[in-house]
Symmetry: C2
Subunit: 393 residues, 2 copies
């Protein structure tokens, strides 16, 4: 099993950069090389040339099968490619510039295909590498879903709309009805395709309820929204009381604040890496819903714990400099996606919102530093030697 699932050193003291990569096996399909490249500390190495091959594969390979993917509340499909590749498809459901209705709760918001794509790019640019590669693609809903699916529950929801477009809605908990159709124009539909992680039988994952999970209620507040000293409790609770778990959670909060994702109720880790491993940033479809407003509560973990990885802090500072402005490098990064030929994946207001929010994150860190001296968690030198004292940068 280990051979199938990435480089793993017997003692993690060796550090991931000393592991011999097995991703150079040219005969493996790119999705398998991606699986083999997963380490204890990140999903992929950002310099690995396989990354581009993998997204190219998802964006261009012949689609062999399309069925509904169970789990979650909104419609998504599982797409099969030659050589056993698979991807999670999320369809475009609203025009790209549409902002989420101000009266909708985060748990009623649509999922957005471009949010999945943009989240992958943002996570990578932040140096996290914790989101499976996602790529955009224009697919033909007739020939690449309707005509080839073996999923009867899916196929019977296809219809031709009054405008002559081929539409479907699938079966799921929310927005799977003829009132919320997913439609081609008349056949072509923008979708996001996310690389599948190794099968759960090979690489089981553990799901963790986020301590800063929202109430998912119209009326109730979560404990962390009422108790400003909430982090004191979290800091004493395993697994947050040792290792990098707490600062990992704060990394995730920074990512989510930048893209305004309020839907991070759980996160996952690979079981075989135990508690000392990175957090997967899965399921980002509800990010990038609103550019005109920021949601400060997403930063609660940082604000309440006043702690951040040194590497993250340095990266954020870099991305706030004029030459490395986050909006500029995101714009440039997103042009690599095939769908950027149809229209920019994030509109300019969304890109500017990134810069505005980044400034706010740095402001929160500064406010923390004015009150505490253990804000910056030094993860840069020998990050894997267990807990250590935080050092102010």
């Amino acid at each position: 099993m280990r051979a199938k699932f990435g480089p793993q050193s017997n003692s993690h003291e060796e550090g991931y950069d000393k592991v011999t990569w097995t991703t150079d096996v040219e005969t493996h399909p790119p999705w398998l090389r991606f699986h083999l490249g997963i380490s204890r500390w990140e999903l992929y190495n950002r310099k690995d040339p396989n990354l581009a091959q993998l997204t190219h594969y998802l964006a261009t390979q012949h689609i062999l099968g399309s069925v509904q993917k169970k789990g979650g509340t909104q419609l998504k499909l599982l797409i099969s490619f030659p050589n056993y590749g698979q991807a999670l498809l999320k369809p475009m459901k609203q025009t790209r510039h549409a902002e989420t209705d101000v009266n909708l709760f985060y748990f009623s918001d649509f999922e957005r295909h471009n949010a999945e794509i943009a989240a992958f790019h943002l996570d990578r640019l932040l140096g996290f590498n914790r989101i499976p590669p996602v790529v955009g693609r224009l697919i033909n809903v007739t020939t690449e879903i309707k005509e080839i699916t073996t999923d009867r529950r899916l196929s019977k929801t296809f219809f031709t709309s009054p405008a002559g477009n081929v539409c479907f809605y699938g079966q799921c908990e929310y927005y799977c009805s003829v009132e919320h159709p997913v439609c081609g124009q008349p056949h072509m539909l923008e979708v996001s395709l996310a690389t599948m992680l190794p099968d759960l039988t090979i690489a089981p994952r553990r799901s963790w309820r986020s301590p800063w999970r929202r109430s998912y209620s119209r009326t109730k507040l979560a404990q962390w929204e009422k108790d400003p000293a909430y982090c004191d409790t979290v800091k004493q609770t395993p697994p947050y009381n040792q290792g990098t778990r707490l600062v990992d959670l704060i990394d995730m909060a920074v990512l989510d604040f930048l893209m305004s994702n309020m839907d991070r109720h759980h996160y996952e880790t690979f079981e075989q890496f135990g508690n000392n491993t990175f957090l997967l940033h899965l399921d980002n479809g509800r990010a990038f819903g609103r550019h005109s407003q920021d949601e400060p509560s997403i930063l609660a973990p940082l604000q309440q714990c006043c702690r951040i990885r040194r590497s993250t802090f340095l990266r954020l500072r870099l991305l706030s400099l004029p030459d490395f402005r986050l909006s500029d490098i995101m714009r440039e990064s997103l042009t690599q996606d095939p769908l950027s030929r149809v229209a920019p994946l994030l509109s300019e207001p969304h890109l500017s919102a990134l810069d505005r929010r980044l400034a706010k994150v740095l402001q929160v860190v500064q406010t923390c530093q004015e009150k505490h001296d253990d804000v910056i968690y030094n993860d840069i030198e020998g990050h894997d030697q267990g807990p250590r004292s935080a050092v102010t940068a």
Copy 2:
């Protein structure tokens, strides 16, 4: 019962203009005077000064109660006023300029408060007088619904949205969910208020399935969509084989085509007037959904039967003249509604669509006249002397 329910002559040969109106009883509230004024041939006399008093009453009277109204598929409320007045409330659910999604079927479309208001004005300008008076109003959802309702099923759907607006969604078949909230800004909401007809125990009504009813299916066509000679059958079928019922239906089709209402599955008549009476044009919330397109199939009754009332035809011709242009008189008429102070009730594209569609109706009549000589049904001289031969105008 007769005294309570409008002027009714013993033999309808007398004609409605000879009936002594009982609507001048100054002590009656305006809604009762409206009920008393209903005749066999129309809901109200357009010159009756009570019309303005009635809409003023609905627009300004203190709201005593608000409960959900059962029946139908979308949310509507029953509003009570002093002196036993009642109105049917439909809330604003989308911005006024929004066009119906091209991929939505007519049976999935939202109901629009401004469509109810505009339909009343249009029906009146066409000389039909078959829609109960409707008026717009800005209401306070907190003090005029939430705080006074006795309807628990309604009141438990109230909530404050993330934007701080007071919202609710009620309980109904379609769009009654937190994903489709009706929201004040933060309390004030635009609604339409339609005068209620006399209670069914006093004035029972008969519901008729329209012969040109749509299939209400994503895939099936109705018989009239497949059979160009469909009208030949209808013409031989009671009650369409005598009196004005067929041309009444065609009047309704003209109204519906002008406002692009595809949702006329049934129509109603007052039972005590038998078959020789006007058709009520109730429930127009799905009109005015799209201005950029026309729906020729709505005109099928006119196109397939090639028959139209002379009075309707003359009115349509008048409204196509530059001095009496339909769009101009609709614009002017709608300014009488209180909500026109908030924003025009129909946007300019919707008003222009009226002129474009009117020209199409007249074109269909002309095409009919080129092929048939019994197109114009002369209803102007002694309309109530039973069936007669149609006369070309």
